[in-house]
């Protein structure tokens, strides 16, 4: 009990320290992408080298295998080239955890870890022994041991060659005489080909999912053993799965304080009045989603509850259940910084609704964060730009029961906005407890200042031009250069 209390106190102090420290944090950005490119090329080549096209099998099978390898290697290249995070804080931390696991498990094959900016909480292993960890997973974990279990699980996939075996099994089934015969039978049957192929595809997918679940069970089992070899707390494996089981639920279900940020004397607006999504005229019961249609999240793929029961058996009931004491200071900081990086990732992926939502959720805890405030203003700027370009629906999600209620409430507001509203919103937000301007203005603050000016006066105003010149002078080739000041095709030609 005393130990728990101490942990709590240390945790709270650590978290507060991290908050204060992170108020001025700006997400990592480097103009130099050489390292990313080299890493991406190396990984692409490695995947190609690792997944050797079998010499046996039909020519169709080999061609298909080649195609899959090409696609997989290109995917790896793109993931790394455009989303790997090589920052000086979070990335070294996760690499350190990964290295400790490898050191404690020398029997493991060569493996490496890539941290990606993907904001979705997930992780996966690639056939060549590379584990891809999404940044979005880090804020959802409570401690390093839980992260270690996730990585051990992925390493178990690598050790068991699940990707290679899975690929071969799939392709072998696809090119099997039985399937070909069945396919030929369907084509020759002449009638109802579509529904027969659909049934065949469904059977294939179900079979595939069965193998997938079998692999997951193996990975949990071996992953748990790998974790026990390390100094990390093995009981946290169960808790990690518990967290994955609730990964689709919002971390903070409280409604956003939209009126306090976006309604003011200059722009009085009642935010509860945004029209609700109209009731559907259809009373069709939503069809059970097939494996083909289901979205892949850590909760559903495969069933976490079953995995938890399995791990509990493995651990002889020595498991950590329920919320764990607040993270130790190091991990608390990693969580906190990852959370900010996730906001930036949503923004970089053009998901301005998500970026706005995440920033507004974090702002009450870090009201003076220039980064969070800038993301809000820059998101408004981008949203208006997309509204003007008629691509608004491509960057603002649909309201869905699968999403948290507070996010849906924000979406209702966004769907209801008109072009001229963005001026009022940004004006009110700029007024709402604006912190003293940093001197000199950091890149985010300057970019947000430009965005606010354009929202208020259009890009042709003298102030906007001045801010643009200042940004381009101070941060030439900076993070927002292309986004805020896109080069028109005509200008590009002249250049």
């Amino acid at each position: 009990m005393f130990r728990l209390l101490c942990l709590l106190i240390i945790g709270v102090l650590g978290a507060n320290g991290a908050l204060a420290q992170d108020a001025a944090y700006l997400p990592y950005y480097s103009r130099d992408t050489t390292q990313l490119y080299q890493l991406a090329v190396a990984q692409r080549n490695d995947v190609k080298t690792h997944l050797v096209v079998p010499k046996t099998g039909s020519s169709e099978y080999r061609e298909h295998y080649k195609k899959v390898v090409k696609e997989a290697s290109d995917d790896v290249f793109n993931s790394i080239r455009y989303s790997a995070l090589l920052d000086p804080v979070v990335e070294p931390f996760v690499q350190q955890v990964f290295a400790r696991i490898l050191k404690a498990n020398p029997q493991l094959p060569t493996a490496r870890l890539v941290l990606t900016r993907n904001p979705e909480p997930n992780a996966h292993a690639v056939g060549n022994g590379t584990v891809m960890l999404n940044l979005g997973l880090l804020p959802r974990l409570e401690n390093e041991s839980q992260l270690a279990f996730i990585l051990c699980h992925e390493l178990a996939h690598v050790a068991c060659r699940h990707m290679e075996n899975g690929l071969q099994e799939r392709l072998t089934t696809l090119h099997s005489k039985e399937l070909k015969r069945e396919f030929r039978r369907i084509i020759n049957s002449e009638y109802n080909i579509g529904s027969q192929i659909k049934a065949l595809a469904l059977g294939f997918s179900l079979n595939n999912s069965y193998h997938h679940r079998r692999f997951e069970r193996q990975a949990d089992s071996l992953g748990y053993v790998l974790l026990t070899h390390t100094a990390y707390e093995a009981p946290q494996a169960y808790r990690a799965l518990e967290l994955l089981d609730t990964i689709d639920e919002p971390e903070n279900p409280a409604p956003l304080a939209l009126p306090s940020y976006f309604s003011c004397a200059d722009f009085p607006r009642a935010f509860g009045n945004a029209p609700a999504k109209p009731t559907s005229i259809f009373t069709v019961k939503a069809a059970e989603k097939t494996v083909l249609e289901s979205t892949d999240t850590l909760k559903s793929h495969p069933d976490c509850a079953k995995r938890m029961r399995f791990v509990q058996t493995l651990a002889h009931d020595q498991v950590a259940k329920g919320p764990q004491p607040t993270s130790p200071p190091d991990f608390a900081r990693i969580r906190s910084l990852s959370r900010l990086e996730v906001v930036q990732s949503w923004f970089d992926y053009d998901c301005y609704d998500h970026a706005l939502f995440e920033a507004l959720q974090l702002l009450p805890q870090q009201p003076n964060s220039p980064f969070l405030r800038s993301v809000v203003l820059l998101s408004l700027f981008e949203l208006r730009q997309h509204l003007q370009d008629h691509t608004y629906t491509e960057v603002v999600s649909n309201i869905s029961t699968h999403q948290p209620a507070n996010f849906n409430a924000l979406l209702r507001t966004l769907h209801d906005l008109r072009y001229e509203d963005f001026t009022g919103l940004s004006t009110c937000f700029a007024q709402a407890s604006a912190p003293a301007a940093a001197m000199p203005a950091d890149e985010y603050t300057l970019a947000a200042r430009y965005a606010t000016t354009v929202l208020a006066t259009e890009a042709t105003s003298a102030t906007a031009k001045g801010l643009r010149d200042q940004y381009q002078k101070q941060y030439a080739g900076g993070r927002f250069d292309k986004l805020l000041f896109p080069v028109t095709p005509a200008k590009a030609m002249r250049r």
């Binding site: 009638y191 192929i197 259809f282 289901s294 999600s397 649909n398 869905s400």
Partner: protein, 524 residues
């Protein structure tokens, strides 16, 4: 009309669906696609979903599987229904929703039958009806509809439709003989016939009735009457039918004054004031309504008993010209005339009349050849000009004329058009789909309207420039224009009505056999 779907082996490899949250939809394996394959589903004024009708694979030796795919107003897939019908000879003419049931109207070309099916909101079939006796005029009308051309609401009737009557059912219209007369049959949601209204077989007149609105206890329509099949003199009549009993409670010609002839474009009922409101154009006394160039438009109000209680004329050259924006005047002086596409009444009591300019471009040689008995493929060209919105306040004052310039587009007209008068030419151009006007959208409260038109160069083709124009107006008193650049690499691009404040754009890529649908929020 329909799309054709290929049973794709690719389904074996497609293991993930596209993001469920986007207001877009991409469909693969679409081998061909016509504009009418997708049709909006309305509940009242607003779009509440979409229906995609397509042909799938063969069901048996004689039948194909036809697919009815339902989407909600956000393009989320709701469900699908598969029906087995004659191979390659089955088309959807129209889809309708009356608030409690969906009705689908099919043409079975193989057996020369019309078929109706109704479904409840859970998409369970609740009614079927087969119509064996299709008149020649019906066939002609269907054929026009199937070509994707518009059937004119006033002069030629409403095409072949199932007209939704909220809470009661659907009215099916048909044409008797060679469009000599009309018949309307009301069915409940289970397609049991409830009442029938038809033209008098003994009447010496040729009559068509186009239903326009189901409001309050009435089903309203505009009846057009003429002396003979080839007659160019039309008389417009306002018709109101009791929706429950089918009794005609109002069948009255628009009063023809001593100084002018009148045509009728819109006939509505205002439940708040219990008044019928008629809007149309007026012509010189010696001219023929719809045939000659109109002199202006008029508004008349009647009590439920049919008594005229108010009316006013607005002359193009006087009242309209007086407040016409300067930039519009040259086009009016350039022999352009107006074609009124839609007339709506806002909840603010104002009437809005949406018109598009057109004119015939003389081809002297062609006209001369025709006059001399020569035959040419096309001796005249039509030209489509700019858009107008006329605003009339509840006191019948013309309060605004809004002008929206767009690139002129050309239209090929059938031989002999050079001798036709302006009014009839407008209807021909409308029927040929020559106008750039596409449709008007309105919300349930009748407080916001949006006129959609397409502006593209018909000589250089849509690939060079294609813009969807949106003119928005309503209770807020503001007129806004939003232009969407639709120039793309797609084989075809179509624009459809959507939920208020949006339009739906569908891009079809023939090579990729792919159809992309997306909602576009209007910047209005």
């Amino acid at each position: 009309m329909k799309f054709t779907k290929r049973a794709a082996l690719a389904a074996l490899f497609a293991l993930s669906a596209s993001a469920a949250s986007a207001q877009t939809k991409t469909l693969d394996g679409i081998q061909n696609m016509h504009r009418t394959a997708v049709s909006p589903i309305y509940a009242g004024n607003e779009v509440k979903g979409y229906l995609m009708f397509g042909r799938g694979d063969k069901a048996d030796r004689k039948n194909d599987n036809y697919l009815l795919d339902f989407y909600d107003q956000d393009l989320g897939k709701v469900s699908n229904v598969t029906i087995q019908k004659p191979s390659g000879r089955y088309s959807l003419i129209s889809n309708t929703f009356n608030g409690s049931a969906f009705a689908f109207y099919f043409l079975n070309s193989k057996e020369d039958k019309l078929e109706m099916e109704t479904y409840d909101t859970g998409l369970k079939k609740i009614g079927t009806k087969v119509i064996d006796d299709i008149s020649k005029a019906d066939k002609m009308m269907i054929s026009t509809q199937m070509r994707g051309q518009e059937t004119n609401g006033g002069m030629m009737g409403n095409g072949m439709t199932l007209f939704p009557v909220p809470g009661l059912g659907f009215v099916r219209n048909s044409y008797t003989g060679m469009a000599k007369g009309y018949a309307m049959v009301m069915y409940d949601n289970n397609l049991n016939a409830k009442w029938r209204v038809a033209s008098d077989e003994k009447s010496k007149f040729y009559e068509t009735l186009g239903l326009t609105e189901a409001v309050d206890k009435y089903v309203l329509g505009i009846k057009m009457q003429r002396d003979g099949l080839m007659s160019r003199k039309f008389t417009s009549t306002m018709v109101a039918i009791d929706a429950t009993t089918g009794k005609k409670v109002f069948d009255m010609p628009v009063e023809t004054s001593k100084t002018e002839q009148l045509s009728l474009s819109s006939f509505t009922f205002d439940p708040a004031t219990r008044e019928f409101v008629a809007v149309g154009e007026y012509y010189k006394l010696d001219d023929k309504p719809f045939v000659n160039k109109s002199q202006g438009f008029y508004i008349k109000r009647f009590t439920e008993a049919g008594k005229l209680i108010g009316g006013k004329n607005f002359g193009w050259q006087r009242e309209v010209m007086a407040i016409m924006p300067n930039e519009a005047k040259p086009s009016l002086e350039d022999n352009y005339v107006n074609y009124a596409h839609s007339i709506v009444k806002g909840s603010n009591g104002k009437l809005y009349i949406v018109a598009e300019q057109f004119k015939i471009v003389g081809d002297g040689l062609g006209i001369a050849l025709t006059a001399l008995g020569g035959r040419g493929a096309s001796v005249s060209k039509g030209k489509v000009g700019n858009m107008f919105v006329f605003e009339v306040d509840p006191q019948a004052n013309l309060t605004a004329v809004k002008f929206y310039a767009k690139d002129p587009s050309n239209a090929s007209l059938p031989e002999g058009s050079g001798f036709m008068s302006a009014g009839i030419l407008g209807h021909i151009m409308k029927a040929q789909g020559d106008f750039d006007y596409q449709f008007m959208q309105k919300n349930d409260a009748n407080s916001q309207f949006n006129v959609v038109y397409i502006n593209f160069d018909k000589e250089k083709g849509e690939a060079t420039k294609k813009v969807v124009g949106n003119i928005a107006f309503g209770d807020n008193g503001k007129y806004a224009v939003d232009k969407i650049d639709l120039t793309s690499g797609s084989t075809y691009s179509y624009v459809y009505p959507a939920k208020p404040g949006y339009v739906m754009i569908a891009d079809y890529y023939k090579k990729k056999s792919q159809l992309g649908m997306k909602l576009v929020k209007l910047n209005i």
